[in-house]
């Protein structure tokens, strides 16, 4: 424990720049349907090589505006009611990486400021002096730089940033697929309650007016 604290301290002294680098990046996540669908394609095609999204089913993807043929293309022979499991069996991943890659269904809710965390992680890879790939947000991460961010030049990074943004949008949706339904119902509920409370207020005033002055 002490040793680790000491090594962090040395890291800080050696590279003050990491202070700024490991902060979450200020980014606006594009939640448009197109971005969500493109993110879903990346996640099912790339991330799900190792990661599962077991609380999502292929049928859930239909809600993003995909048609059944699109989903069949992404599901690799799985049925609509099957959960989104990793293509690599968990025990194989464990042998390769030393642990089972975490399920991504709830990642956007399981971290403080989840979406920005995911985006910052995906675009936080860099090559240290010895040529090893590491991550600013998660030093010592075992996940490879799957998007190739660390080796990309500025123009490539613009495209990768968009892709990371789409992946983030999809994972945020996956963690809370009912969010749109919840908010749109919420507007009606609040509007109704404001109306009802307004009526109750006038009614209360009228009732108490019977007492004449001295009422509160």
């Amino acid at each position: 424990m002490k040793l680790r604290a000491l090594s962090y301290l040395m890291l800080l002294l050696a590279a003050p720049a990491t202070w700024a680098d490991n902060a979450l990046k200020d980014v606006v996540i594009d939640q448009s349907p197109t971005a969500l669908r493109r993110g879903a394609a990346t996640v099912t095609g790339v991330c799900m090589a190792c990661h599962s999204l077991k609380y999502l089913h292929y049928r859930d993807l239909l809600k993003l505006g995909f048609n059944p043929e699109d989903v069949a293309g992404m599901s690799m022979g799985n049925k609509l009611e099957d959960p989104l499991l990793a293509m690599t069996p968990p025990d194989v991943s464990e042998q390769t990486y030393g642990r089972v890659p975490p399920d991504l269904s709830l990642l956007a809710k399981a971290r403080e400021d989840g979406p920005r965390y995911i985006y910052s992680l995906l675009t936080g890879f860099y090559q240290d002096k010895s040529g090893e790939t590491n991550n600013h947000l998660y030093p010592g991460i075992r996940m490879p730089d799957i998007l190739g961010w660390s080796g990309a030049d500025a123009s490539q990074r613009a495209a990768l940033a968009t892709q990371a943004n789409e992946v983030t949008a999809f994972l945020a949706w996956a963690a809370d697929p009912r969010a749109d339904e919840r908010r749109s119902l919420g507007y009606y509920v609040i509007a109704y309650l404001v109306l009802l409370t307004g009526l109750l207020y006038v009614l209360k005033r009228r009732v108490w007016a019977r007492l004449g002055q001295g009422s509160n």
Binding site: R59, L80, E81, Y192, L195, L196, L199, L203, R206
Partner: protein, 167 residues
């Protein structure tokens, strides 16, 4: 004075009715999510279809599959059974055999007795319900016993000559 009070009283009554109505509508609407939550969930609804490969069922044999949690009998009828059923109209709930099958050699019926919901046992000539002795023929039509109706034919269609999707 009296007149003004009367007007006030009337206004208050109207306000009370309006508020009460709005409140009652809200309470009724608030009940809906709770009632709705007891309906089948999305994953249960997603299992509404069952795909069955018929190639392994020999002539004269029966296979029981689960569809929406209910048993479905699939009988591969042999030519004698088909002929016998085609000549009969059944018992108390008469129906020609051709209205009960899509392909004469394949009978697909829900295996739940129409009397009180027991699962009938297969016999040589059809089914016998162990609970109250209802007898069905090889077209799933009730011949005797307390059951009021023939065994239900579920919605299904052939996706291949030996593969059906129930539901």
């Amino acid at each position: 004075m009296v007149g003004k009070e009367g007007v006030d009283e009337e206004r208050r009554d109207f306000l009370l009715t309006a508020t009460g109505t709005v409140g009652a509508v809200g309470i009724a609407a608030a009940c809906w999510p709770f009632i709705s939550s007891m309906n089948p969930t999305l994953d249960v609804q997603a299992q509404a279809n069952t795909e069955v490969d018929l190639s392994g069922v020999a002539a004269g044999a029966m296979r029981t599959v689960a569809w929406r949690g209910k048993p479905v009998f699939i009988v591969h009828r042999n030519p004698e059974q088909i002929a016998a059923m085609a000549q009969s109209e059944g018992g108390k709930d008469p129906a020609p055999d051709r209205t009960r099958v899509q392909e004469p050699q394949w009978l697909v019926v829900v295996g739940i007795c129409t009397h009180l919901g027991c699962v009938p046992n297969k016999t040589e000539d059809g089914w016998l319900c162990p609970c109250h002795g209802s007898v069905y023929d090889n077209s799933g039509r009730v011949l005797q016993g307390p059951a009021p109706r023939n065994l239900e034919v579920p919605p299904y269609h052939f996706v291949e000559p030996t593969k059906i999707v129930i539901g």
